[in-house]
Amino acid sequence: MTTNRDTATSAFDTDELVINMGPQHPSTHGVLRLVLRLDGERVIDMDVVIGYLHRGVEKLTEQRDYTQIVLLTDRMDYVAAASNNLGYVETVEKLMSLEVPKRAQYIRTVLAELQRIASHLVWLGTHAMDIGAVTVFLYCLRERELVLDLFEEYCGARLTYNAMRVGGLPMDLSTGWEAKVRAFCDLLPGKIDDYETLLTNNRIWLERTKDVGVISGADATAIGLTGPALRASGVRRDVRKDEPYAAYKDFDFEVPLGTRGDTYDRYTVRLIEMRQSVRIVQQALDGMPDGPVMGKVPRLIKPPAGETYHAIESPKGELGYFIVSDGQSLSPYRLRVRPPSLCNLQALPQLARGHLVADVVALIGTIDIVLGEVDR
């Protein structure tokens, strides 16, 4: 665009505005930095700069034993700590070929789905707030608070749960917890209806989200999108269905798909996912087996030499752990995470090109990133 234009017209050309959006910006969801090149308000191109929240989690794992690493995984996707725990402990269990008691599997599933609801509530709130609907944000956090209360009652923590162990769970459910989860499951669908009243048929919301950031299923797959962002483009890929883990194969639930792959589809897909999560939780509570929550695990967790990759469906997409063990040390030789936020973030420049500045904000929201997970 800047090259090969003759001097006669260049005198009348407008300059491109290069503007930094972030790292210190209200709506980049943390310390993401975008270097935007603008023509007026239109985005010509952007560079995504990450790394402001890099803490070297992967390297740190090489200095920690396998139990301590659970605590590190909490701090990656800090709005979905339980999903991170689950992915990690299942990978180690796969590496060691451990049996996990059925009750533990069920409770893990309940926790993971509650976590999905909490994470989606944070997503919806911040996404709506980025588009200017501040009230929805407060409503969403009100319900998320209830989920956090449930987690607090289960494991004592509200954000970084450290709620799972290799081979099972550190503790059984406290009495009355299931009833409280059931009460929450009865409450939530009505609240989701409330959010929908404010947004789904709101003309401004429709205009802001429909046909914004369209990505085809083929493009989305090529770029490595996973999770709701991929399913909104009509690709049926859900680790819970395709490679069932925990107790998911026991439950009946639907995987919502979008058709156009725009921001609105990603919004509706996530809302339906929340409703489906409620169904899964209810089924898990109905069929909750008795028994221990901790399997037979050696005192020292020392996996045999080898490597394995295992993925789960975190709220944001496919969360994978790749662990290499040398068979002698109590720490992994190498632990690599496939963070859905990072992979999904790669779609941002493609989604945003040609749109306006205001859409960039909506698009950051729609791919649902957490910088703790992007940078690790």
Partner: protein, 339 residues
């Protein structure tokens, strides 16, 4: 001497003080209303239920460090906030709060001055504030403020066309540019103009939201997009002046809207005989009440709606509101000539 100097100056001081305190409490009201909509409490700490919050805010702002960026234009950077706030305040010179009242045995009119081109005055003065926004953004020499002041100017001029056209259709109906005369015309007609010109009223309210940069048209200060808007680089009292001007403008458009469409100081239901006692309430009370209701509508809208995008805003302004206002004007003119 008393008639010429003391009373007018006294009236001006009353109006300015009233407007400034109204603005201060407007901020509190906005925070409270937003909080109630969002199941929160809002300010609660300063005084009972936070009623002293505005005073604390003013004290804080006036004792803040006044930072001026090194690359900013010294003179314009200070001029901009003043240029925004003065027009907002002087519009009230022509707004009639009521007809007249008797005080100390003297008949005192409840408006500072009654210009025969009052409406034209309001429209022109209100546009001056725009210079302040552009200068503020430009003088900061920073990208976000500049981008936002460009947004602001394009947005405000776009909606100004539609708003002034609705006002013209109202002039056609009322046959006067003086605000006092317009209210009196509504009294003579026996009906508020909102019922004669409903389309104009809707356009006016939408345009008013856009011209005061209020949600859902608050793009120039969309903090999720442009951080702080045109006053990103401002702090302390200069920032306070921008803020003051914004809220004053909200009161201005509400007051003008009440005068033009909602019968100004007139009591409602004047034709219903058993409600005639409503006329005993002083006119300025009705005026304040109606202005308050219109302002509350602004707050309610802000708490409910998401924000428009820039192109959608321009499209709504140019492709919907302006043609609509033109048609409305043509129709009102036909009716005026016919009747």
């Amino acid at each position: 001497m008393i008639d010429m100097v003391v009373i007018p100056v006294f009236k001006m001081l009353v109006v300015i003080t009233a407007v400034l305190s109204a603005v201060a409490y407007m901020v509190l009201l906005e925070r409270k209303v937003q909080a109630w909509v969002q199941v929160r409490l809002g300010p609660m700490r300063v005084g009972p239920h936070g009623v002293l919050q505005p005073i604390a805010d003013v004290l804080k702002l006036i004792t803040k460090e006044d930072v001026r960026p090194a690359s900013a234009d010294r003179f314009l950077f200070t001029l901009a906030p003043i240029l925004v706030v003065v027009p907002a305040l002087i519009v009230f010179a022509v707004v009639p709060f009521g007809t007249s009242t008797t005080m100390f045995g003297k008949e005192i009119s409840l408006y500072i001055t009654d210009l025969d081109i009052g409406l034209l005055y309001i429209v022109s003065v209100a546009s001056i504030g725009l210079y302040g926004l552009i200068l503020g953004g430009w003088a900061s020499n920073s990208k976000y403020p500049l981008l936002s002041s460009l947004r602001a100017s394009a947005q405000i001029v776009s909606y100004e066309v539609a708003v002034t056209m609705t006002l013209v259709s109202l002039i056609v109906t009322a046959g006067s540019l003086s605000l006092v005369e317009i209210v009196k015309a509504q009294e003579a007609h026996g009906v508020w103009y909102v019922f004669i010109q409903p389309v104009a009223f809707v356009i006016f309210v939408i345009g008013a939201l856009a011209e005061t940069n209020r949600a859902p048209f608050d793009l120039p200060e969309a903090e999720q997009e442009l951080v702080g808007g045109f006053h990103t680089e401002y702090s302390g009292m200069r920032f306070a002046l921008f803020f003051l001007a914004e809220y004053t403008n909200m009161i201005v458009v509400s007051a003008v809207g009440v005068t033009m469409f909602l019968g100004g100081w007139l009591a409602p239901f004047s034709s219903v005989s058993w409600l005639a006692w409503l006329g005993l309430v002083p006119g300025w009370v009705w005026f304040s009440l109606k202005t308050f209701l219109l302002l509350s509508l602004f707050l309610w809208i802000r708490a409910t709606l998401p924000r428009y995008r820039y192109d959608q805003l321009m499209r709504l302004g140019w492709k919907v509101l302006i043609p609509l206002a033109l048609v409305n004007l043509a129709v009102s003119a036909v009716l005026k000539v016919l009747l």
